[in-house]
Amino acid sequence: MVKKRAIIDVKLTLRLRGMNVKNRIEEIRTERGIRQEELAKAMGVSRQTISSLENGRYNPSIMLAHNIAVYFGMTIEEVFIFEE
């Protein structure tokens, strides 16, 4: 319950502030020789989701962003860049 509320709060705050979220998923993934399919399988999402994330067409939930960061052994801030 608290987690869900926190996710909604963060999404709302970002929207209100007109912030953009960019990410380095493709860069980190290719650096490490990981295929989109592998990352998708590890995250429990479809390959299209990873592709959309990399192209910036879709912003992930906090949980997915967290899971991706953990998968790469990095912090969320190192993978996702918040821009005004």
Partner: protein
């Protein structure tokens, strides 16, 4: 896929209901509309049972279905599609109400207006319920 056995049971229920409706239609107890609906139920039941059977046997298909149902982008798209569909429906009802009125089809125009109003009321009810949940 959650509640696998429940889903199979529901599909079987569709199948049985379809067979009963067709049987009653053949005996002349009900009209063609209902037996046609029965055929539809049989179709839905059979397709669903085939899907569930494949889900149980084919591991690759199972993984594909599970991923698709859990995928957050998929859910986001589905929610967005429903929202758009609802919005378009209300707009079409509005335009339809005016167009039908101009065309002199008053009954249809009123029906269109009612459908649009019902959708808006439903939206507000859903909004209130969901806003209490979150």
């Amino acid at each position: 896929m959650r509640d696998y056995n429940k889903r199979i049971f529901v599909s079987l229920l569709w199948l049985v209901l379809g067979v009963v409706l067709i049987a009653l239609g053949t005996m002349g107890k009900i009209d063609d509309f209902w037996s046609g609906m029965g055929a539809g139920f049989i179709g839905v039941g059979v397709v669903q049972i085939i899907r569930y059977a494949r889900y149980k046997k084919d591991d690759e298909y199972k993984e594909k279905v599970d991923t698709a149902s859990k995928d957050e982008r998929n859910r986001f798209i589905a929610n967005k599609a429903w929202a758009w569909a609802g919005y378009c429906f209300v707009m079409i009802c509005g335009v339809g109400t005016i167009a039908l009125r101009i065309a002199g089809k008053e009954m249809l125009s009123v029906a269109c207006a009612w459908a649009g109003c019902f959708m808006l009321v439903l939206y507000w009810v859903c909004y209130l319920i969901i806003s209490k949940k979150y």
